[in-house]
Amino acid sequence: MGEVIVITSGKGGVGKTTTTANIGTGLATMGYKVVLVDTDIGLRNLDVVLGLENRIVYDIVDVTKGNCKLRQALIKDKRFEGLHLLPAAQTKDKTAVSPEEMKALCAELKRDFDYVIIDCPAGIEQGFKNAIAGAEKAIVVTTPEVSAVRDADRIIGLLEAAELYQPKLIINRLRPKMVKRGDMMSIEDIIDILAVELIGVVPEDEYIVVSTNRGEPAILDPNSRAGQAYRNIARRITGEEVPFLNLEEEEGFMSKLKKIIGLSR
């Protein structure tokens, strides 16, 4: 029996899809059977980020409506044997799937895969409700901006209301130098408000843009800082204890980070 994890954020553009693609790829490189489910019906992206757009025949709506078998809609990744994608429909909207259908779908996927990772759309409406319906765990992605943290806070509240307690937090696109100058919210500031366990900090990395455009997750590039951070997150998801990345050479920052880890444990 696998685990169903939803990746959500509330606000758009904080890196849910990138995170989903990278974590999924990371878990697949470790030998797990992984399926990524894109629930952003009408605005699908995950297939593009993974470079699998041209292979889509059936999608999630076809599966839930019974137009095809689940097996037919799953797309095998071109690089990793264990990685699969269930793409979203592009021509329908969020109401094409119901939370009950999602629950049934997740239960079915759970039987065959070690990890079912759900890419949640932005917002708190039907799409969000669908995405979390079948989930057992949640990862909230935020960026060090007041608006993103505010939305993350709202999302954590909604997750708790849906009995998805203690979600994990990923802080994405952090710029250590800006934090040091006091121009950006620090990890402490964010944890102080959200009060949830941190599972990873991903530094801002230009390579993400390149990798997204090429359809190759950054996690596959050994030189990418963000890729390294995602690799660590994937390992932490499997239960491994991995020390947090040293985002800056100076000692000051590391000791701060350690403090956070100590706090969050």
Binding site: D153, R154, E160, D192, A195
Partner: protein, 295 residues
């Protein structure tokens, strides 16, 4: 309270399963056992969520059999030992009900920012009698809020009270009839409103809202909006371990934190209405005593 007809409060836990006929049989038995009459207050705890139609039917049944008016009836979710029953929001609409509104008085001063520490305790005037429950003005007693006149107030036992978040979420908290205790952090988009005092063990995050008929105490950081004395009680206070509100309202007064980033002190503070404005002081128990006595 002599001469007033005695009121009894009876909690009935409805059976988990069973159709309307079974429930009615069960209630009929309870009516006889507990001698419920029209003076009773009945709290119905439902283990499974009943539909509005079913609730109506039960209310009608009780009215017919015991002469119980629906105002004397309240519905709460039954809390199981192990697991809370699924508390399903009845509607998902954001912003359903806020029972309190700002009193429409002509002294709202929205542009007034919070003045910290600008206090002169000797200037605090004697109570102006806003709080109707208060007996003797200026009595040297620490009684910031007396229970309002009403039914069953003498009872100090714990009663489950349904609290509605405006986001449609619903939860049940335990407290006596004039104060509720909320043991959780209020996150963005969540709001609580109650016709009494509200004590929160946790934070009130930016974007969350607390509305209270009485005072508000936050054992944590208050970063959202707080409205104390929502029905006009100017003696209501807002106290917090870290008072960093987006906006503070007490009775008809509104104030906001000053523009620009200002450092907030790292100690508990309390906000109250003083000299026609909201003033924040550090929370000092000894001074607190004087102030309450002065009121």
């Amino acid at each position: 309270m002599e001469g007033k007809s005695k009121e009894r409060e009876i909690v009935i836990v409805l059976p988990e399963d069973g159709d309307m006929v079974a429930i009615k049989d069960f209630l009929q038995k309870k009516l006889e056992e507990e001698e419920i009459d029209k003076n009773s207050r009945v709290i119905l705890q439902e283990k499974v969520t009943l539909s509005g139609k079913e609730k109506k039917e039960i209310e009608k049944f009780l009215r017919k059999r015991a002469g119980l008016s629906s105002q004397k009836l309240s519905w709460v979710q039954h809390l199981a030992e192990e697991k809370r029953d699924e508390v399903q929001p009845e509607s998902n609409a954001v912003g359903t009900v806020i029972p309190f509104v700002l009193p429409a008085v002509g002294r709202e001063e929205p542009e007034k920012t919070l003045a910290r520490g600008a206090s002169n305790f000797s200037q605090v005037k004697e109570g102006s009698g806003v709080n109707q429950g208060r007996e003797q003005e200026g009595e040297r007693e620490m009684l910031p809020l007396k229970p309002r006149e009403g039914e069953g107030r003498e009872k100090r036992g714990l009663t489950p009270l349904p609290i509605f978040f405006t986001s449609g979420e619903r939860m049940t908290v335990w407290g006596d009839e004039n104060t509720i205790l909320v043991q959780r952090t209020l996150r963005c988009g969540q709001s609580i409103s109650y016709d009494g005092n509200v004590v929160i063990i946790g934070d009130v995050n930016p974007g969350a809202e607390v509305v209270a008929g009485g005072s508000i105490i936050v054992m944590g950081a208050l970063r959202g909006v707080a409205h104390a004395g929502a029905q006009g009680d100017e003696k209501a206070v807002v106290a917090a371990f870290r008072l960093q509100p987006t906006q503070l309202r007490i009775a008809g007064y509104i104030s906001r934190s000053p523009d620009g980033s200002t450092s907030t002190p790292e100690y508990p503070e309390v906000a109250r209405v003083k000299n026609g404005g909201i003033v924040i002081d550090s929370l000092q128990p000894s001074l607190e005593k004087q102030l309450c006595a002065g009121n």
